[in-house]
Symmetry: C2
Subunit: 327 residues, 2 copies
Amino acid sequence: MVKLTDVAKRAGCSVTTVSRVINNYGYISEKTRQKVHKAMSDLNYQPNSVARSLQGKKTQLVGVIFPSIANPFFGELVENIEAQLFKAGYKTILCNAASDKEKERTYLQMLMANQVDGIIAGAHNLGIDEYKKTGLPIVSFDRKLSDNIPIVSSDNFAGGSLATQTLYDHGARHIYFIGNPVLDGHPTQKRLQGYRQKIQELGLTAHIHPAQFGESLELKEMAIKELLQFHQVDGIVATDDLTALTVINVAQQLNISIPDDLKIIGFDGSRYIQNYAPFLSTIVQPIAAISELLVKLLQERIAHPNNELKENTFQLPIKLLSRKSSQ
Amino acid sequence: MVKLTDVAKRAGCSVTTVSRVINNYGYISEKTRQKVHKAMSDLNYQPNSVARSLQGKKTQLVGVIFPSIANPFFGELVENIEAQLFKAGYKTILCNAASDKEKERTYLQMLMANQVDGIIAGAHNLGIDEYKKTGLPIVSFDRKLSDNIPIVSSDNFAGGSLATQTLYDHGARHIYFIGNPVLDGHPTQKRLQGYRQKIQELGLTAHIHPAQFGESLELKEMAIKELLQFHQVDGIVATDDLTALTVINVAQQLNISIPDDLKIIGFDGSRYIQNYAPFLSTIVQPIAAISELLVKLLQERIAHPNNELKENTFQLPIKLLSRKSSQ
DNA sequence: TTGTAAGCGTTATCAC
DNA sequence: GTGATAACGCTTACAA
């Protein structure tokens, strides 16, 4: 590995001078600058960012903690975040937390040990305390961690509400919500609340059919089959697109016609779903905007770790993608 | 940040001793070991891996270069790779190359600068030379980079062949291949070759309908529409599942019944497709095995960078997932 | 405008 | 068994 001293030797100057032209500060004569540049490219020199970091410089490394990126929504979100981080000069350390507390804890330690500049957390099984202990700038997607951690999410409440209204407008009167019924600060909750409120406004009765996020497909299918067979239902607000697709698949098995007998609308609206499930209506989250904001907020936190936050909750607008399944 | 000297001070010994117990070498009395451990946990000490790396230790960082992880197949693959790397004690730096040469080049430089221990390359727009210049251990998924870089892939040839045979067995006689027709070392090629050979064995005529990987959905749809409307076709081998889904969507628009009028089979078989497109037949790549092998090979390269490779090509067996669309 | 040298937090080589 | 101390490659006072 070629290093600073090699460049200095070849350029016929001191390491300080070389460092100066690299970091571009202090006074250097144009001639020296030229010489140094030439030496660097001759030797194909790459500053060692490990050494640089040790010196107290930033590592330009960011930990991105998410559940499964095999899920197209998270895949697309992480892809966008990575792109934004790259644009801002950061490298992304991918931490797939899944629902493994121990793994998440280990990752947190690794991130500290690697002196990352910050963390974007899109899932957490761990409590606030373990995150606080890192002492690192953190921003969060969709989950509240603590008061002084900015949280970005879509307007889940409006989404739940809009989905419900949409089904109603197309004639549904027995509208069910499929999702996680437990109140735990999970974003699904706001979707559910939006649903509840709208149902009430419309003078209908709320029905919540449980389906956990991490649940196996088989269990979900069973639960959905039970719903479709034994309940009077003509509209479904699904907590996410994958659940919606499962409903559609089960409905097909049961010869229930969508949208004639049953209207359904999902949530998330990844490009992937938009392209390859073109019949599915869905509430679209603004993935690009979310990513941009997450990275922007993180940069602010990194620049001013101790600033009080004037605002810690950012809700981005969702929009309806109306397709066949709800019409 | 608490550091070695702090621990040493609290434990009442020298940094050397502390370092010894951390790295667990040399002789240390049990009593000292206890004291040090206590001091470490009292202070919640985390070794600084930046400093450690500077000292010549490995960074335990691996660059993972892939095209879009929003694509469920790559999403699942990268997720599996990340899991394997984690198990082996590595952190994953996610590099989404897309088709941006400049970005890929920059990433390569960053990876060098960060002293990563190795690279897993699942896409490359750049030539071998730029990769070789890094001097880093590399393993590749699905693309040949150079003779001394191990390449892991599925048995694409067998896949193409098996897909074709399957369609034939179910009665198709006008079987088209949709994919990239250019011969460029892209894995698609082997799928195509498998198709060609099988078609020949069966005494049929080969028809290749072009569709590029990175192409926009609209263009793909147009090309497919043209195919379905103006050609006599009763079977399609698609180069990947997403293309297959597009065919199905277009067929539906054109009121072509699948599998009655047209049988189709895709390629990749991510869990996602298996779960949410349950009607689609596909050739399943063994994602878990691929990931495992990639990481294992990379570890070998890291351990012995200069060993000659006795074998540089690893083809993992595919299998058929037979569903409605091809029956 | 340029150079010398101390220091970042570890590990490793000696010496005791 | 344990402890000084040089070294890793770089940045940055401080001198010149």
